[in-house]
Symmetry: C2
Subunit: 182 residues, 2 copies
DNA sequence: GGGACCATGTAAATAGTTACATGATTAA
DNA sequence: TTAATCATGTAACTATTTACATGGTCCC
């Protein structure tokens, strides 16, 4: 009954009321380097959570158009606290690129090079997003005194993405070097 | 009809016939830092793949006990080649630790420290496994000339795990430093 | 004889993606 | 006016985990 989707939603709502759409956007930006959710998960989960008493739908105001916002209940906060005390589950990663690379028996190295290049540009962008989030964070007040923890999370993203890009550079120059053909 | 589980299995079988159990072990060791599968995926998938003509069950010999091994068919190889030519899907990661960290409003920092320590020891182990796989690889022949690619994959694991451990050290000393209480 | 690990599997529940549908609003 | 983005949702499918069950073998 507490799927991880429940938890991310509760966590985000613990700071301020949000709509399903807002929640998706926040996950895509702030958590992009270690988490993801789809609309198909978020909207049905929000409805379930209303029934379970974890969140409450706010009444609509004129200024927020069709937007349905939700706020966390005290039961929701309790649930979040209980989750905090439990050992995190073993992380799960799925990077298909490395499957392609591992199994690329004699396939054209140019194909692989292109895959790596798009991996590279996608993580270059991640790094940019992380840096702007970092800057944004330092310009706003820290009422919950959680900025230090958030900065640590960002720092994790910076370090891993930097490692990714380092690997891309090395691997690309190796593949391209070993393949200066014609 | 080609789930990623199909693909990992085909990839592994493209080098040699294996049983479901073998496949699981190989994924757990070689791919642990970027992929995972459970028995509940592997066994039913193998059966499906027999029906689809992608793999063939080998007859049992006396020396391999109850072990049912499978070999890849030519259709299986064709499928693998087709997959190679398709752009890899966006990777998916789920690291619950960072959710805990991001949402740890005023919860006991010792809890967080423990989570990070177990993350640290798990990735210290990953790094050891990677290094021994690397050593093993250099001591065996390279009939398919794919060792360079495999080494690149290993190098990715080394780099990311090293980044993880670097982050653990920094974050732990920060958390412990800011918390020399009593 | 017992514990660790080899070995295969199934059922039930849960999780998650994808494609589709709909309509409003904003900015060029 | 038209494209982008805001905003919510559902249905069908696919994927995945987990718990359970069973029995063999190897080594101490």
């Amino acid at each position: 009954m507490n799927s991880k989707t429940h938890i991310v939603i509760l966590g985000l709502l613990s700071e301020e009321p949000l709509s399903g759409y807002d929640i998706k956007k926040l996950i895509d930006i702030r958590f992009r380097f270690f988490w993801s959710e789809s609309y198909g998960q978020i909207y049905p989960t929000l409805k379930k959570m209303v029934n379970e008493g974890l969140v409450k739908a706010l009444s609509q105001t004129k200024d927020n158009r069709g937007k349905q916002r939700y706020e966390i209940t005290s039961l929701g906060r309790k649930t979040l606290t209980l989750w905090q005390a439990q050992e995190p589950e073993k992380e799960s990663l799925r990077l298909e690129l490395f499957l392609k690379m591992y199994f690329s028996l004699g396939s054209n190295p140019h194909i692989l090079i292109n895959y790596i290049k798009s991996f590279q540009s996608s993580h270059t962008q991640d790094l940019m997003i992380l840096n702007s989030f970092k800057k944004e964070l330092s310009s706003i007040p820290d009422p919950y005194q959680n900025h230090q923890n958030i900065l640590s999370v960002i720092e994790f993203g910076v370090k891993t993405n930097t490692a990714y890009l380092q690997w891309c550079q090395e691997t690309l120059s190796q593949l391209e070097g070993s393949h200066e053909s014609r």
